[in-house]
């Protein structure tokens, strides 16, 4: 029960954290590849 209680909040929090960090890296890639070098 205790482990499950932790998982119920920890897993969605981890998903959000991983998503935001990946999104940040993806945004940097988008700026570098698509916005700054659209013709390359």
């Amino acid at each position: 029960m205790t482990v499950y209680s932790v998982l119920l909040y920890a897993v969605p929090a981890l998903v959000i954290a991983v998503t935001l960090y990946t999104g940040y890296l993806g945004f940097k890639f988008y700026i570098a590849e698509v916005v700054r070098n659209p013709e390359e």
Binding site: P12, L20, L25
Partner: protein, 468 residues
Amino acid sequence: MGFLDWVMLLAYFVLLVVIGVQTIRKVKSEEDFAVAGNRIVWPVFFGSLAASFLGGGASLGMAGKSFSDGYVYMFAFFGYAVSFLLVGLFVAPRLKRYAGAHTVGDVMDEHYGRAGRLLTGVLSILLCAGILGAQALAIGTVVNATLDLPQRPSIAVGMAVVVLYSSFGGAWAVIQTDMLQFVFLGVFIPVTLILALGETGGPSGLVESIPDAHLTFGGSYSAAAFVGLFVAFLLGETLVPPYAQRTFSTPDSKHARRGFALTGIFAFLFYFVAATLGLVALALYPDIEPDQAIPTLVIKLVPAGLVGLVVAALLAVVMSTASSYLNAAAVVFVKDVYQPLVRGGTGVRRKLALERGLTLLVGGLATLFALVVPSIVDALIYAYSFWAPTVVIPLLIALLFGSRSKPAALSAIIAGAAATLIWLVWFQDRTGLDPIVVGAAVNLVAFVTAHAVTRNRGGRRNRPRTAV
């Protein structure tokens, strides 16, 4: 939905179109259209692959099944995540040995000749069209369930956006919009769970409100049913065209391994979130239909201002999968069906125009079928059951052991397809065993037998000729 919610939802669609337009200038060749010039680094590969992989089944479907069956369905569904993890660690890096490859057919041709490519190509197109049609129908379901708007205009608008950015920006547009959609689904679906948990009175309130069996590993499934389902999920989507094509878009095997394996790990976490949303819906609204689990939570619990973003997240789940399968269908048609059948080379501009035209055509037809004759979509989805029993075993044997036994591969594909069809028509309802499991087993036996019989007549072990 309030004014602010509509603004948020509209902003999501505008962002998709802006990204699609911005990527048009990146597409100058077939390689740009198919694999984004092999420039997709692992974080972008991971995010876009996760967005493609996590479709309506992993969100709305998962919540609905956990509502009715409990966590046991999630544990069976972990077969997909295990598959991604294993393919990422041991198989995906090997795909990068095939210089210039864009499709599964390229690998099959390298090992098993033109017949292997053509068979793989035709099955790939049917599979992609079926999944694309299913996602188009899911757009209508999401909008109708959450916003109470009619399904047909919703499908038409959602698919029009997908088809437009996919046809002009190719893989560049699909991958970059996938990243935006990944952020939407990875943030706002877990946020919905955290909000909903508060309504149940926290973990203890949730546990008290649902049947004990819903929280157990085996639930009400028999061991045979569970194993059959797990194996079907384990094999069912292995290296389907969009995932293989996305892997080819990475610069090297390190990026391929890391991004693919991370997608598997992320899938475990996302499935837990989606399954728990189903259980929370059961605790709070036990009288609703199972497939209304997530839409009901969104309508009843998500505050104004967030609803638009959560609906956008649900649409992101579906639209990202649709665009990936659409792009794959066009690329596969040109590389695995059109080019092998047309004598002489095709110019770069002509191939690019052909891929763009095919994206418009396939996307338009899938939308039309979803709107007018959804039974055709249902029929095409059967192609999904034939992927693992035909292509996967010969493909894995080629990638892992370097087999070039054409008789073994063709025997396995034909035997696997026949066994799957027979099981699908006559035995699935009687036994409950998924035809994917039976077909894949027959495929493996046929491959090994034919390889043993013909091994002294040309079937030999080798490394890819185009290894880099």
